[in-house]
């Protein structure tokens, strides 16, 4: 481990040249011979009965090859609890409800045809907040629950309840208790590349999906189910992922538009491409799960947490995608961010006529941590303890088992908090405050902290959290690595290449990663849960071991050496300690191959991490490594305008081991800006279920001019289960931004912001309320 050639080095990404020259092929760039263009008609009402659909004028338009509605196709149940259909029959439940679809020879014709479809609706009263949806007499959004029984309320029955220890005992023991409500809203992924797919059937009715999914193998399963419904039970599905223009969780489910493309391709016998406009991307791509969180927690006289109680109300929207399952991760900070012995967590998920939600970087963790970490500051104040000190008193430590039965092996939380504190100049700020020397008045300054815990060693949300890998050495000494990993920009393929070169002992240029093809590459559960580097690199280490066993057996024969004594470095095989008498890999391979009864060298493995599914009580070691971090910011609040300016942003992350610091910094910079957008500017505004700001002019993403002075701090704790000690870092960076900023605003002006985003309007309003 002492001499690493590639691991830990700032090696630029291997797909960089393709991307800077414009050669990378995204779904936008893909054309297939004879390809048609699909377009979708969405609902005009958030809740209505469909009385009739007239597609005659659309069908008559020259260039139109197919027009389909729910009446023309068999029902394909989709979504987490199968309460959704690609095309809606009889009733629409949200503004994004897909009613009809067209395939035409040209995108303009397809769009025109969609505009010619006449739908007659009978509007129904709608519900647009979870509170409204739970009120007595509220209209039922689904008549049946997901088991087909008559629905009695708008609640989605999911088992998100966790009790650890004895919360009542913890409450009675608490010297200080705080309670507050926090709200987060709809946030859009805003991948720069909008959603798209090409569905293509061959002559034998096998389906190829040119796709941008983060879950090619689970998607393959979903598409196969759809084909069964179409009577194509024997057909095969191949998923070919294109270069993906941003993921962030948005491609973790299979979406209506993908099935619509399949239906259109099936109807026409031609490849059909559906590519979202930006407006569609805001409307019909599911959002981050909005939350209403009631939190109370308490500590004893020494500042040690005694209990935490969280009740959440979640707006499910009209259908159920992964948003409804985010409580499984919201529980992680609820139960295990800091040492808290007694925990109660409960989430109610309620249908409304809003857009539905799905996975989004952090998978609910940012929303939950917003409540937990703001509440930590409130409690520190109630207890009269410095917020940084309060966090250190309660910080998780290595070797602990949390109340939810997470086994914390490596943990650098305290170090992260200390480094952020130092980077901010926290102690100097405290001293200046005590002396009355800090900036107040119309440009008040303040500092705030927030920490995070997240899965860092995979997450067993499915029965398998595994990753298959095949390695193949060719006659030229080059290695092809077949992996199910999906590259969504995070650099997973490049990291994997480094780890493969290191563990096999080859020059990195001789490693070729083959991916994004379900026909060729072995199964992987998907690019989610910050798991890809952890899982695929562990698979690589395991597979490299298998490969070298075979290779050294052959080399041992040729070199008259004990295979156990052999090593390979940069493509040279030698006896340990006798590097000068090395044999080139190429020679070993050629001799082995080009001989009678010859052999080639290949290896395969399936790595499944030692983590556990949550049990019925929602307990178990969900991830075999846990990622920690702390963000700290200094803000300046303009009390005349409500504008919040970030003057300093320190972001410390316990990454186990930095496999490539360049990429880790990229993840931290990007996630901190994304987290800050969620904190300050980003909100998909819905009015009676209708998107009011579905464009980049009106939906406020941060730009290069919103200079965010982020200092990434990498803390290495060398996790025993991690590849070379590494843990996940994809999601953690956007988790603590909102509470760190909210806490800094409070420190600056004494106003507790409890709703995201903390826009100037909201800050001003909160100041006025405080002064009232």
């Amino acid at each position: 481990m002492s001499e690493l050639n590639y691991v830990g080095k700032r090696i630029p990404r291997s797909d960089g040249a393709k991307k800077v020259t414009g050669q990378a092929i995204y779904i936008n760039d893909l054309k297939r011979p004879g390809m048609l263009y699909g377009a979708i008609l969405y609902s005009r009402y958030p809740h209505a009965l469909i009385k009739s659909i007239d597609v005659s004028r659309a069908k008559a338009l020259p260039g139109v090859r197919a027009v389909i509605t729910a009446d023309d196709v068999p029902e394909i149940p989709i979504g987490f609890i199968k309460d959704n259909r690609p095309l809606k029959k009889g009733k629409v439940r949200s503004m994004r409800d897909e009613i009809a679809a067209v395939a035409a020879t040209d995108p303009d014709i397809a769009a025109e045809a969609v505009s010619l479809i006449k739908v007659e609706y009978e509007p129904l009263p709608g519900v647009f907040t979870p509170e409204e949806a739970l009120a007595e007499g509220a209209p039922l959004i689904h008549d049946l629950d997901f088991k087909g029984r008559p629905a009695t309320s708008n609640k989605v029955k999911l088992p998100w309840k966790l009790v650890c220890g004895d919360p009542d005992e913890g409450k009675s023991r608490a010297k200080h208790v705080v309670e507050h409500e926090y709200r987060t809203t709809f946030v859009s992924h805003c991948c720069m590349g909008a959603s798209g797919v090409v569905a293509e059937f061959d002559h034998d009715k096998n389906l190829t999906m040119y796709s941008i999914t983060q879950i090619p193998y689970l998607a393959q399963g979903d598409y196969l189910e759809a084909l069964k419904v179409l009577g194509l039970g024997r057909s095969k599905v191949r998923v070919l992922c294109q270069t993906i223009g941003g993921g962030f969780g948005s491609k973790l489910d299979t979406h209506c538009y993908e099935f619509i493309a399949i239906l259109l391709s099936f109807a026409t016998g031609k490849p059909v491409k559906i590519l979202f406009s930006r407006e569609e991307e805001f409307l019909a791509q599911a959002t981050r799960q909005p939350t209403i969180t009631r939190i109370s927690q308490g500590c004893d006289e020494n500042g040690r947490l005694t209990f935490r109680e969280i009740k959440m109300l979640l707006d499910n929207g009209a259908y159920t995608s992964w948003g409804a399952t985010t409580p499984s991760v919201m529980m992680v900070p609820a139960s295990s961010l800091y040492r808290v012995p007694n925990v109660f967590y409960d989430a109610d998920i309620v249908y409304t006529n809003n857009l539905y939600s799905q996975a989004f970087r952090g998978y609910g963790n940012p929303q939950a941590t917003f409540a937990v970490e703001c509440s930590m500051d409130e409690l520190a104040e109630a207890a009269g303890i410095d917020p940084a000190e309060f966090r250190l008193i309660n910080a998780n430590q290595p070797g602990e088992t949390s109340p939810q039965r997470f086994q914390i092996t490596s943990c650098g939380l305290s170090e992260c908090i200390e480094k952020v504190r130092d980077g901010l100049g926290w102690d100097q700020h405290l001293a200046a405050k005590a002396a009355g020397n800090h900036a107040t008045g119309s440009k008040a300054r303040g500092m705030g902290l927030a920490s995070l815990i997240h899965v860092g060693g995979g997450a067993r949300v499915y029965r398998s959290d595994g990753h298959g890998m095949i390695m193949k050495l060719d006659d030229f000494g080059k290695l092809s690595v077949f992996t199910g990993a999906v590259e969504i920009g995070q650099g997973t393929e490049s990291t994997l290449r480094q780890v493969v070169a290191e563990s096999v002992g080859l020059p990195i240029e001789d490693v070729n990663i083959v991916s994004h093809d379900t026909d060729i590459c072995p199964w992987d559960v998907g690019t989610h849960a910050s798991r890809q580097a952890f899982i695929s690199c562990n698979a690589a280490i395991q597979c490299a071991g298998e490969l070298k066993k075979k290779l050294f057996a052959l080399a041992g024969e040729q070199m008259k050496a004990d295979p156990a004594e052999l090593e390979m470095r940069e493509g040279s095989i030698f006896r340990k300690g006798a590097e000068d008498q090395a044999m080139p890999l190429l020679k070993v391979l050629k001799r082995a191959h080009f001989s009678t009864q010859g052999k080639m060298v290949m290896a395969e493995t399936f790595y499944d991490p030692p983590n556990e599914m949550l049990d019925k009580e929602m307990k178990g070691n969900l991830s075999c490594s846990w990622a920690f971090g702390c963000h700290g910011v200094e803000v300046e609040v303009d009390t005349a305008t409500g504008q919040v300016k970030i003057l300093n942003y320190q972001a410390a992350h316990d990454v186990g081991k930095a496999l490539n610091p360049l990429f880790i910094e990229g993840q931290i910079y990007g996630a901190a800006v994304m987290g800050t957008g969620m904190a300050l500017t980003e909100e998909l505004r819905l009015d009676h279920g209708k998107v009011m700001n579905g464009s980049f002019t009106d939906y406020k993403l941060l730009t290069a001019k919103d200079v965010l002075p982020v200092t990434p701090i990498i803390v290495e704790t060398f996790d025993p289960a991690g590849p070379y000690g590494a843990k996940g870092i994809g999601e953690p960076g956007c988790v603590p931004s909102s509470p760190a900023i909210a806490n800094a605003i409070y420190d600056a002006i004494g106003v507790r912001m409890s709703e995201l985003p903390m826009t100037p309007e909201r800050v001003l309003k909160a100041i006025k309320e405080k002064n009232r």
Binding site: G22, Y26, I244, G246, A671, T703
Partner: protein, 156 residues
Amino acid sequence: MKKHMQFILNGHEVTAEADTRQSLLSLLREEFELTGAKEGCGEGECGACTVIVDGLAVNSCIMPALEASGCRVETVEGLAGPDGSLHPLQQAFVDFGAVQCGFCTPGMVMSAKALLDEDAAPDEETIRTAIEGNLCRCTGYKQIVDAIKTAAEKMP
């Protein structure tokens, strides 16, 4: 209605028949198969379609193709040397981690190129202003700004 047009594309004189309603982006992508420039929004808001027209970075998705008649148009495909060697900006983007998903990259690189053609030693503020109209969801912009700064220093 289609009209004949002539312009200089990445150093070569070219002709095309462009529809009066067609955007420059569509012409470049559909007729010339230069798919580096991307449509991220189609409304001139995200900058993924940025190309350089007579020295100015433009959103090609909202520029009528015919307006490029007689102009010098540069796209990301024209940046690398004849031997395939990357332009210093492209190289710096790769080296500094300024590329993640890469969708905004061609537009981002072209905005930076237009800036450096005009101002060989821009300060950070100027760089950030030049790429303000290029949205990126992955990187947080820091490594992009660093790449542009370094490329400026390295360029002759």
